[in-house]
């Protein structure tokens, strides 16, 4: 009896196994390998991987946890495998989408043509919490607004990919992608080498190239920094990791000061100018003079220096408005408007509660829908209709009626699953996919991304802040004949 012989994909699309129990072509080698492992070996490799992650300090603070301490971001060694034709659609679809969103952002802060043409409701944008008036009339360096994006994709039971949401502010998780890959290379070295998985580790190079691209040519000795809220931030590990991989300074707000119109670091040898910041700080906390005055994490005067063109920032302040879950519903129109093309990657069908007909439908079908608040992230402020109690649904109905502008609803997607180690066997667990996209001189989509997995049986919530975990994602090169390797 082999490990996979009792594995049942059930009614879901399984990333590694077809409905008939046969491995998908790209997964054949891996499954054969796992099946030939002696009893207990797979679990042992899992434990080794976990030990390695702990040793490397790949940790994550879960908000609201009592100890508030570091835990390893849970990791399962069985990777999700994506074949090259699937990836082709994803890559081109994401490039199209990010290009359009960037145009959109520039437009709404400048000419507002899309609003005048009523493709997207004006009040939706201008009244959004994340619309930053201070950015009006501004053109950021190279006209790029969304330098780093993490777009969440899901695969439905019919095998199609849909965009679940865009993350255009401070998307995190790419460091886990990079470290997971290091760990998995050591877990399944033979399979990995034979399959020729596309590499992910040029990401830091691409990131640095993009950041340097934003600095004007004439600047003498350009300096790049990563701005972090500090060690108590849940994603601190990533800030530190990326700055180290790029070889640039990791700074906190307290390390920076604006003097003579320019931003400087406080160093042991005095003030040193910074020319571009990869800022992992939300707009609200960026500058007490421009945004929240109580923020101790930001730099007073940073926005003024930015608007004067004396420092570049990635991502540009103001991108949050395109992050909005209600604006998301209009993205297919946005893509059409700026590219003239239909979206290559479709949205999940979405009901917009501000629209009367949609709202009526939503309130009548709460038990079938997933309802999301426009501006929350991390799986908070969400109702999963089919799993919720009557009381929870009633409470949410009230929220929707009180603030319809704030909510969207989508049918529950039958998220695809990947075999995951549970106890001493394997069971399917739901996953999504977050590829990372860098918009610099070109648009680079990292091959793979973070596969987030909902570790609890039957759960659809994959967010790390609510106890989800991750897997490595393998994108295969085209034309690999799997049969030759057996």
């Amino acid at each position: 009896m082999t490990t996979f012989s009792t594995y049942d994909p059930e009614q879901f699309f399984d990333e590694l196994i077809t409905a008939n129990g046969i491995p998908r072509p790209g997964a054949q080698l891996l499954i054969d390998k796992i099946n030939t492992l002696p009893a207990g070996e797979l679990l042992m490799r899992q434990k080794e991987a976990e030990a390695l992650l702990l040793k490397l300090g790949i940790t994550f603070n879960v908000y609201g946890e009592e100890a508030g301490t570091e835990k390893i971001f849970p990791f399962d060694i069985i990777p999700r495998i994506i074949d090259s034709s699937d990836w082709q659609q994803i890559e081109t679809g994401l490039k199209q989408r990010i290009f359009a969103l960037n145009e959109f952002l520039h437009d709404i802060y400048n000419d507002k043509k899309i609003l005048k043409d009523k493709v997207v409701p004006e009040d939706l944008i201008l009244s959004s919490k994340t619309y930053r008036k201070v950015c009006e009339g501004f053109t950021p360096p190279r006209k790029i607004w969304c330098h780093v994006t993490g777009t969440d994709l899901v695969r439905d039971s019919d095998g199609s990919f849909y965009v679940l949401e865009d993350n255009l502010r401070c998307p995190s998780g790419v460091s886990y992608v990079l470290e997971n890959r290091q760990v998995l290379k050591r877990t399944f070295p033979y399979v990995f080498e034979k399959l020729q998985v596309r590499p992910v580790d040029e990401y830091p190079v691409k990131l640095l190239e993009m950041l340097e691209y934003l600095i004007p040519h004439h600047v003498d000795k350009p300096a790049v920094g990563v701005l972090t809220p500090g060690i108590y931030n849940s994603a601190y590990f990533e800030h530190s990791f990326l700055s180290q991989q790029m070889g640039v300074e990791l700074v906190e707000g307290q390390d920076l000061v604006v003097q003579d119109g320019y931003v400087h670091m406080l160093t042991t040898k005095g003030l040193q100018r910074v020319d571009v910041l990869y800022r992992r700080l939300d707009d609200d906390f960026l500058d007490p003079k421009a945004f929240r005055p109580d923020s101790l994490l930001g730099v007073p005067g940073l926005m003024e220096a930015y608007k004067q063109g004396r420092i570049a920032m990635a991502n540009a302040p103001g991108t949050g408005v395109a992050d909005d879950k209600v604006v998301y519903a209009y993205v297919p129109e946005i893509i059409k408007y700026y590219t003239g093309e239909d979206p290559i990657l479709p949205n999940v069908p979405t009901y917009i509660c501000r629209e009367d007909n949609d709202r009526k439908y939503v309130l009548e079908n709460l038990d079938k829908l997933v309802v999301k608040a426009a501006n929350e992230s991390g799986g908070y402020g969400m109702l999963v209709g089919p799993h919720a109690s009557q009381t929870e649904r009633q409470e949410f109905a009230k929220k929707i009626t009180d603030e319809p502008r704030n909510y969207i609803a989508q049918p529950t997607i039958s998220l695809s699953r990947v075999p995951t180690i549970v106890g001493d066997g394997l069971e399917g667990r739901h996953v999504d996919l977050r590829p990372y996209i860098i918009f610099g001189e070109d648009i680079y989509v990292q091959p793979g991304g973070l596969t987030r997995v909902a570790l609890k049986k039957g759960s659809l919530v994959v967010n790390s802040s609510q106890g989800g975990g991750s897997k490595d994602t393998w994108v295969l090169l085209p034309g690999i004949d799997q049969k030759e390797m057996l």
């Binding site: 040793k55 300090g57 180290q244 700074v251 906190e252 307290q254 390390d255 670091m265 406080l266 042991t268």
Partner: protein
């Protein structure tokens, strides 16, 4: 480098050195107790006095017993300078500067701290203290070794060394001060075998016994003081430790040793000149305790000047104990 980061690495090393010194001092005292059993209070109170925190110790109504003192110095979470708190502080500092220390250094420091937190550690400290404190010492040495071999000897490394050596000079002066002060009162015991053992224990507290023997042979109070203050070769002597501070400081500022541009260089230079040109007889005339007390004050001033010059710390009121 960033001021905040320089501050963190300076203190990371001060705290590790501090933890190691406590471990060593305790270990020596445990051995001394076997050789020269005496009344518990006089046995264990010198350890508390060396820290300079006896007021804190007494205010929290701790007992001058072996268990009481050992617990206080090793595991007491309320005492900022206990071994466990020193390691916690070192680790916190290390965590905030992971991008400049090597991964080996971090993994070891993390491991060092996490091991201390385990129940087995507390058990070992109670049942097999010699082994326990030896492990602390060895892990601390390993950290120093790792820092030496895996980190670029650049600005960050120099700040780390300054922190370590400043702490070392301070602790050596305290060990000498306390023991000398306490031992010398027992005049009737001079040159007895017990006295000899006590002085040897002072040397062992500074890991100095064998090296001392090679150079000085006979054990006398004055010679011990001379060795631990002025010896140029012995790595834990006050002179040697501070000369390393000076070398590292001047590497950072770029001014040649012997010249000075900043206030901190001037203060340190003056202190080094004193150590270079003072004879032991002068120290005895002033009084060893007075000399060492004055030295500690000067070290505090230098520590403060390092903070204001490099770490962008605004001047604060002088404090007795040095903490981050």
């Amino acid at each position: 480098m960033l001021s905040r980061v320089a501050n963190a690495i300076y203190w990371m090393n001060r705290y590790i050195e501090r933890a190691e010194n406590i471990a060593r001092f305790i270990d020596v005292n445990l051995n001394l107790q076997v050789d020269v059993p005496s009344e518990e209070r006089s046995q264990w109170s010198p350890l508390i006095m060396t820290t300079g925190d006896q007021a804190f110790f007494e205010k929290n109504s701790n007992e001058y017993t072996q268990e009481g003192v050992l617990w206080f110095l090793t595991f007491d979470r309320k005492y900022p300078n206990s071994i466990i708190n020193c390691l916690a502080a070192a680790r916190e500092n290390g965590r905030s500067i992971r991008e400049i220390i090597s991964s080996e250094m971090w993994e070891h420091l993390n491991h060092f701290y996490l091991e201390m937190m385990k129940e087995e550690s507390i058990k070992m400290a109670l049942l097999d203290p010699h082994r326990f404190y030896n492990i602390i010492k060895m892990r601390s040495h390993l950290f120093t070794g790792l820092m030496d071999c895996t980190m670029n000897h650049g600005e960050a490394w120099n700040f780390a060394r300054i922190g370590m050596m400043m702490e070392r000079a301070d602790k050596t002066s305290r060990i000498l001060d306390v023991k000398y002060f306490m031992l010398l009162r027992q005049v009737d015991m001079v040159n007895t075998p017990i006295d000899n053992i006590q002085w040897i224990s002072v040397l062992r507290s500074a890991s100095a016994f064998e090296m001392y023997r090679k150079e000085m042979h006979q054990v006398t109070p004055n010679k011990v003081a001379d060795f631990l203050i002025f010896n140029k070769n012995f790595p834990r002597s006050i002179y040697h430790s501070l000369s390393k501070v000076q070398v590292c400081l001047h590497r950072i500022t770029g001014t040649p040793v012997g010249t000075s541009k900043s206030k901190v260089e001037k203060h340190l230079g003056r202190l080094m000149a004193d150590l270079e040109y003072t004879e032991l007889s002068e120290v005895i005339n002033i009084g060893l305790h007075e000399f060492l007390d004055d030295l500690q004050t000067k070290l505090n001033v230098i520590d403060e000047l390092i903070g204001t010059t490099f770490f962008n710390i605004k001047t604060q009121a002088q404090s007795q104990s040095s903490e981050q």
